[in-house]
Symmetry: C2
C-alpha cells in the first residue's frame, strides 16, 4: 500500500467513529475532490484548532474576547445557564426559547478520567457571581454519574451566593442521555420545567 | 456561532457520510486533540492529496513510478486483474489468494455521471496487452448497471487479443454489491470460480 495512503488512513482513523475502512473510504473521496477544495478543508481545520478562542466571560467558543451571546445587550444578563460543553450551547440555542447567558464548564468532574473540579471553569463562574447582577443560575448538566457529581459539587460551591436562585433543568431527559443529542422540544420542556434546588 | 467553528463544520460536512451534527462532533474532538496531532493529520491529508502518484503500468496508487505490486518479480506478470478502483486492489490483496498483477480503471462507464470510456484507463490496459506477455485478463468489475456496461465494453475491446484468455470473477457477489465492501472469503471464491467469457 502507498505510504501516503497508509499515513492518511492512520491519521483519519484517530477520529471518533472512524475505523480503518471508513478512513480508506474518506481517503478515496479526497482523491475525487479538487486539490484546492482539500486544501481549503485542511486550512479551516488548522485555523480552527490554532486560532480558536474562548469567551473570557462564559468560556464558549468565540472569535472575539467576548462571545456574541455575552455581548448581546438584548439578552437577559441576570440568568446564566451552566452547561458541560460548547455543543450544549448550540443545542439550547436551537430551541430559540432561552434568552439568558451561558457558562461552559468544559467538561464534568470525572475521577476515572482524571478531571478534577479545578480542570473546569468553576472559578470563572464564581467570579461572575462575585461581580453581582446574576439572579438565577440554571444547571443544565447531563444525568450521568459524572454529571450528578458535578451537579452536587456546584450546588455546594453556589451555596455561598444566597441571593442567587439555583435551578436545574427538569428531568425530562433520560438517564445517560447526552444533552448534545437530545431533540429541541425535550430541551425546551426541560428548561421550562426547571425546578429550584433545596 | 464562532466563524472558525462554522467554517470547519461546513468543510467537514463535505465528506461522505458526515452531516452537520457529525461534523460538529468531529470539530469538538479536534479541540480535545493536541494542536500538533491535528497539524500532523492535516499535513498527512495535504501530502496525500498533493503528492499522490499513480503507477505508470497499472494506475494503482503508488509513491514510485512503478507500484510495489508491478515491481514484484515474484508475482505472476502474465495475469492481470482489472478493477474499478484502488480500494478494490486492497480488498483482493487482503484475501492473499491472488499472485497476479492489477489494472485500475479509475471508475466505470456512466453516461449519467458523464464518465465515458475515454475517462477510464482502458487505453493503458490495451498498451499493456500490446507489449505482450499477458496470458489472462480477469475482469473484477462490480455487478451494477454501470459495471455491466463497462464489462461489455471491455469484452469488445479485448477481442482484438485472441491469444489472451478473458475471464470474469464468479457471480458469488450479490447484484448491486460494491466490491469494496465484500468479505475476503466471498472475493476468494469469486476469484477461484472465475469463468471464461465467450
Amino acid at each position: 500500500m502507498s505510504k501516503l495512503l497508509q499515513d492518511v488512513v492512520g491519521e483519519l482513523s484517530r477520529l471518533p467513529g472512524v475505523g480503518s475502512r471508513t478512513a480508506l473510504r474518506l481517503a478515496m473521496h479526497l482523491l475525487r475532490m479538487e486539490p484546492e477544495a482539500v486544501g481549503e478543508m485542511t486550512r479551516s481545520i488548522d485555523r480552527f484548532r490554532r486560532d480558536v478562542k474562548y469567551c473570557s466571560q462564559c468560556n464558549n467558543l468565540s472569535d472575539d474576547p467576548l462571545c456574541p451571546i455575552c455581548a448581546d445587550r438584548e439578552r437577559d444578563h441576570g440568568t446564566v445557564c451552566v452547561v458541560e460543553q460548547v455543543a450544549d450551547v448550540l443545542s439550547i440555542e436551537n430551541t430559540r426559547q432561552y434568552r439568558g447567558l451561558y457558562h461552559v464548564l468544559g467538561g464534568v468532574i470525572s475521577p476515572m478520567q482524571g478531571i478534577a473540579p479545578s480542570d473546569l471553569k468553576i472559578d470563572l463562574l464564581c467570579e461572575r457571581l462575585d461581580r453581582g447582577g446574576i439572579r438565577e443560575v440554571i444547571l443544565a448538566i447531563s444525568t450521568s454519574v459524572e454529571g450528578e457529581t458535578t451537579l452536587f459539587y456546584l450546588m455546594n460551591r453556589l451555596r455561598q451566593y444566597p441571593g442567587v436562585k439555583i435551578t436545574s433543568i427538569a428531568r425530562g431527559i433520560g438517564f445517560g442521555d447526552e444533552l448534545e443529542y437530545v431533540d429541541a422540544l425535550t430541551i425546551t420542556h426541560a428548561l421550562i420545567n426547571r425546578r429550584e434546588m433545596e
